[in-house]
Structure formats: C-alpha cells, structure tokens
C-alpha cells in the first residue's frame, strides 16, 4: 500500500462517522486533489469506500456545485485499520491516526 493511499485512509479514519468531500480529504491528507481521485476510485471499487452525491438543492442555495461525499464502509474501516496497523505499514500509521499532541502544561512551583 502506497503512502498516498495510507494518507487518504488516515484522513477518512480521522472522522469515520462523517462523510468527507474531496476538498476536505485533500486538506486532511495533505495530498494534491489530482492524486486522491484515482485512489478513491480504487478504494470504491474494492468496497472500502462508499460515495454519494449531495442533493443539488442545498448546494444551489449556498451558491456552489453539489459535492461528492465519501465515507469508509464498515468493512473498509475494519480492513483499513487492520492493514494500516499491521506490520506491512512502516511509514507512520501511528502518526496518521494518533490524536494531536496535548499542549504542554505549565510546571507548577516557583521559577
């Protein structure tokens, strides 16, 4: 599995219960938009990701074109976590899935 695929899966796994559209995945994964589309195609073909088009009405109300939303399927979520956490992943899954580092707490006591 390439680093780019891992990045897309990591982006989708950050909010597994939320549907993300292309631009959100671009920003969450740090990849270029041209890169993520073929990856999402492959993931969709493998059944890891489901997609749906937004209804045109709310999009027209907001003055923008309809978005295409992606979400990991249950199977995809399980397999993505398993694959990313397995020994085959040597390129920083823990970094992709880890929660953001906590802010440093000021030390108590006199300086």
């Amino acid at each position: 599995m390439t680093v780019a695929v891992q990045a897309v899966l990591g982006a989708l796994l950050q909010q597994p219960d939320t549907e993300l559209y292309g631009l959100e995945i671009v920003k969450a994964s740090g990849l270029e938009p041209g890169t993520i589309y073929p990856i999402l195609q492959r993931l969709r073909g493998a059944g890891w990701v489901s997609d749906r088009w937004e209804d045109p009405e709310p999009a027209h109300t907001e003055g923008r074109p309809p978005r295409r939303y992606y979400q990991l399927t249950m199977e995809g979520r399980t397999r993505a976590i398993h694959t990313l956490q397995s020994g085959r992943d040597r390129s920083g899954l823990s970094r992709l899935l880890a929660p953001p580092p906590a802010a440093p707490t000021p030390e108590a006591g006199p300086a």
């Binding site: 599995m1 270029e32 890169t35 589309y37």
Partner: protein, 215 residues
C-alpha cells in the same frame, strides 16, 4: 508508344505491389509487436486487479505489481541502457530494424487498437450505450461543466459516466477554492494525474464488468 505505355503500366503495377507489400509488412510486424505488448499489459493489469482488488494491497500481494512499482519507467530505461551496454541497440540500429519497427508499431498500433476494441465489444467487456458501474445523477450529465476547458477533453477518455463524475468533482473542488494560486496548483495537479486517472478508471471499469459477468 504502346510499348512505352506497357512499361509504364508495369512500372505502376510493380510500384503499387511494392508499396502494398511494404505496408502489409509494416502492419504485420507492427501488429505482432503491439499485440504482444497489449497482451502483456492486459495480463499484468488483469493479474494485478484479480490479485489485489480484494484488499488494495498492490505491491504486497502481487509480485507483478510489486516489480512494476519498484522498476517503474526508470526500470525500462535501465533495461535499454543494459542492452546498449552490450551493443545490442547499436547492432539493431545498424540494421535499421528500429526504424522499421517504429513505423510498424505506429501503423500496426492503430490496427491492433481498433481490433482490440472490437474484440472487447464482441466479448461484451465494453458495452456501448449501457449504463456503467458509476451511478451519476442526471443533473451532472446534463448540467453545465464547471471544470476548466483544459481538463474537459478528459471526459471522453474515461469509461461511461466516470468522465462526467470526475469533471463534476473537479468543478466542485475548484469552485470552492477561492485562492487563485491554490486553484492553479490544483488544476496542474489534476492535469498531471490524467494518465493515472485514465488507467485506474479503465482497470476498475473492466474489473467491475468482469465481476458483474461472473455474478
């Protein structure tokens, strides 16, 4: 005068025969070369899809996929360099074989491509006028195209409704990108990935068609 006309006619006939033989030679040589190339690509693609489509671990399960990814295009040029090192290319160049093969591949490639497409039509892998696996809402097919003109030509190269879906997604992404620099960067990114997009779209399409047939 009559004799001269006869010689002229014989000359013309010989010329036509020579040209025909030459063209047939190019077509046969080129067709064989391209057919082998297409067959290899098709087999690799098929194996890659079959072996890897279940868990998207290309490069891990499929040894062919792994080798292709490791070697890539650089490997191709390494092989060329390897051949050149032993003077193989010089020998071929001296014989003019490369030029013949190049012309043959161009001519034969067209023949093979048309034949290959007809073959796919006959066996039913490619279906003209039928809805493909990708379900796209009607308004995306009939609505205005928001993607830049420099990307619209890609639509015709993708199978079924995939082109309309891709263009709609490109338009959606760019419409929500207000920064001009970022927008240009995104367009460049889409343009740079067109070969990969075409490859992925068609392999996924063929794989999905095959699976539908098996079901």
């Amino acid at each position: 005068m009559t004799r001269l006309a006869s010689f002229a006619c014989i000359g013309v006939v010989l010329y036509i025969v020579a040209v025909t033989v030459g063209v047939v030679f190019y077509i046969v040589v080129g067709a064989v070369a391209v057919a082998v190339a297409v067959a290899v690509v098709f087999v690799v693609c098929f194996l890659d899809q079959v072996l890897c489509s279940r868990d998207v671990t290309i490069g891990v399960i499929s040894p062919i996929g792994a080798v292709l990814r490791i070697l890539g295009f650089r490997g191709f040029f390494r092989v060329l360099g390897f051949l050149s090192y032993f003077g193989v290319l010089n020998y071929l160049g001296y014989l003019g074989v490369l030029r013949e093969v190049a012309v043959g591949v161009v001519v034969g490639g067209v023949v093979v491509a048309v034949g290959f497409l007809l073959f796919l039509l006959v066996i039913g892998v490619v279906e003209v006028g039928k809805r493909r696996a990708v379900q796209v809402p009607a308004h995306l097919r009939t609505g205005p195209v928001l993607a830049p003109k420099t990307l619209r030509w890609v639509r015709g190269l993708l199978p079924g409704d995939e082109g309309a879906a891709w263009l709609a997604e490109v338009g959606s992404c760019l419409a929500e990108t207000t920064d001009k620099g970022e927008r240009r960067r995104y367009v460049r990114s889409y343009r740079r990935k067109i070969p990969q997009l075409i490859w992925t779209s068609w392999t996924e399409h063929l794989s999905a068609s095959r699976q539908r047939e098996l079901l």
